[in-house]
Amino acid sequence: MTSEEIKQSVTALFSDVIYDETGEFLNILINASELRPLMELLYSKTEFKFDYLFCLTCIDWKTHLTMVYHLLSKKHRHNIVVKAKIADTNKPEIETVCDIWKTADFHEREVYDLFGVKFLNHPDMRRILLDEDWVGYPLRKNYADENMIKL
Amino acid sequence: MNLLLNISFSSLARWIDLSLTNLLNNYMLVKAIEMVIAGLSLLVFLVPLCFFLGYMERKVAAFMQIRLGPNRVGPKGSLQIVADTVKLLLKEGLTPNASDKFLFNLAPVIVVIACMLVMAPIAFAKDFQLWDLSIGVLYISSVSSIGVIGILMAGWSSYNKYSLLGAMRSGAQIVSYELSVGLSIISIVVLTGSMRMSDIVLSQENGWWIFKGHIPVLISFIIFIIASTAEINRAPFDLAEAEQELTAGFHTEYSGMKFAMFLLAEYINLFVVSAIAATLFLGGWMPFHIGHWEAFNHVMDFLPSSIWFLGKTFAIIFIIMQFRWTFPRLRVDQLLNLEWKYLLPISMVNVLLVTIMAIMGWHF
């Protein structure tokens, strides 16, 4: 399936979608609220069959956060990037996808740990790398730690 | 030449006995003093033996693993084990706060005592035996299983989950492997008709059982080696102290002298098991004789009997060591599988075969 066809099928169901094809993969930008239905569609529809979530991360753009999901279909060998914008940087929240792709369990915990994005309906939302009592989210751009050594 | 041959362990023992009887004229006292001497000489024998076994194990391991092994302390590293012992003696013997302190400290003592008790009926050389009791073989198989109590005690009292798991594994293991050991011993008892160690050795005057007894005895020899390796908790059956699974198993919490005692017990056990295997199957101190080749037999007789005994023992020790440095460890259920599915049925059939052989007189 080409990216054009993917675009067509997605546009048919979701109105508020922006496409970006400047990079290596087709990027789908969507609002955080609509992420979950889109993901379910991408996973379950046989023409897409994006069964492999190979990268899940977050980018802090200071004004907002962007969740980035890299998906690959093992069957059709096509890649896609889904990006979800989270406007609220103080209390970011988004639906979990860890029941669709089990690998998201650990990756979402990592994002929670380092960015503070809370994943709703995640079964085990704890910090994964840092201590339970760590203050702040280190990969945020506004994270400050007096113990940090500036080179 | 004759004089040299006459000065052996047995003549020494007889001389001590005679002179003490002449001196004291009191049977009880003489026996008491003799016991003390025997115990002391056993200790004097065992400590260097364990040093040597420790050194041997390291060197065997090293050479199989294409490395040099200990080579710093003393010539060719031979004093390394002494240095290690001194280190262990000087280290603090920790007792965990939550442990059952009495049992915790008692356990290593029991383990060592149990394995030293087994030394009693072993014939080290011609006419040289601490205690030639009429049920020697039975005594060995019953006393050697006391050690597991020490291990269970150590694991339970340590207040450590790894230790407990290790102790439980060891319990299951020793209880089951005891059967195979017993059955393979019985096959020799059937052939000799006696449980006395000296009788068993004398019965092999014209050939060792492993040669005389055809394939059934060979099979029971192999089963004995495998089962006794399991019984003394050595790799590939070292589940009780499986390093990669349970850190150090039942002796995780032990340090210093108490740990050294477990180590001592392990090596004494290794020696004892090999000595028993050598006595039962390889003729103990009996030199290698072939039927009626008088000249050949005469040449073989020149070697002192203690050398024959130790040579056979160490050959078996080497094989057990090679097991350890070649094989991966079994899992706990496979361990029991091996015993109940393979070793036990085979040794039961084997005992039957040996019995038929003994009744029919098919052995040489």
Partner: protein, 158 residues
């Protein structure tokens, strides 16, 4: 059938175990295969490879001259802040002032031997030495000054 399978398993197992023991037995009886290097004893013959990255040094020639211009390219290239180049203004013979190094500080304790400073150096002033016995009792001893006292820049190096 069952018995055949049963004894077949035993035969195969024993065979596989014996083949392992044969291999360890082979190495036990062939001590020439031993690979151990007795390190402190073979120090005299032990030679590291030419490119081995042990520590950063600044070679000086017989006139106590080095090639460092004090351009600080290495300091920028270093990812760990290992190098600190402190420069001074030196008056030349013709009266002109010229930048030269005062002290070239090298923190061996921070260095990860990534070779980035050496490749970035435009005048080949520093290189990697093959030493590897760096252990000291005090961390402060690992802070090194690479330019020798009284040294100056080589003629013709810009």
């Amino acid at each position: 059938m069952f018995l055949k399978e049963y004894f077949g398993t035993i035969y195969k197992s024993v065979k596989s175990l014996l083949s392992g023991m044969k291999l360890t037995g082979y190495y036990f009886t062939h001590p020439q295969e031993i690979q151990t290097e007795e390190y402190p004893d073979n120090r005299a013959t032990l030679k590291m490879f030419d490119r081995f990255k042990g520590e950063v040094v600044m070679p000086h020639d017989e006139n106590n001259e080095h090639r460092c211009t004090g351009c600080q390219a290495c300091e920028i290239a270093c990812p760990n802040g290992t190098i600190k180049v402190i420069t001074k203004q030196e008056v030349q013979a013709d009266g002109k002032k010229k930048k030269a190094i005062d002290v070239f500080v090298y923190h061996l304790e921070l260095c990860t031997m990534c070779n980035m400073c050496v490749t970035s150096c435009p005048s080949d002033a520093i290189k990697m030495a093959q030493t590897f016995e760096h252990s000291v009792y005090d961390k402060k001893q690992l802070k090194k000054v690479l330019n020798k006292p009284g040294s100056k820049i080589m003629e013709g190096v810009e």
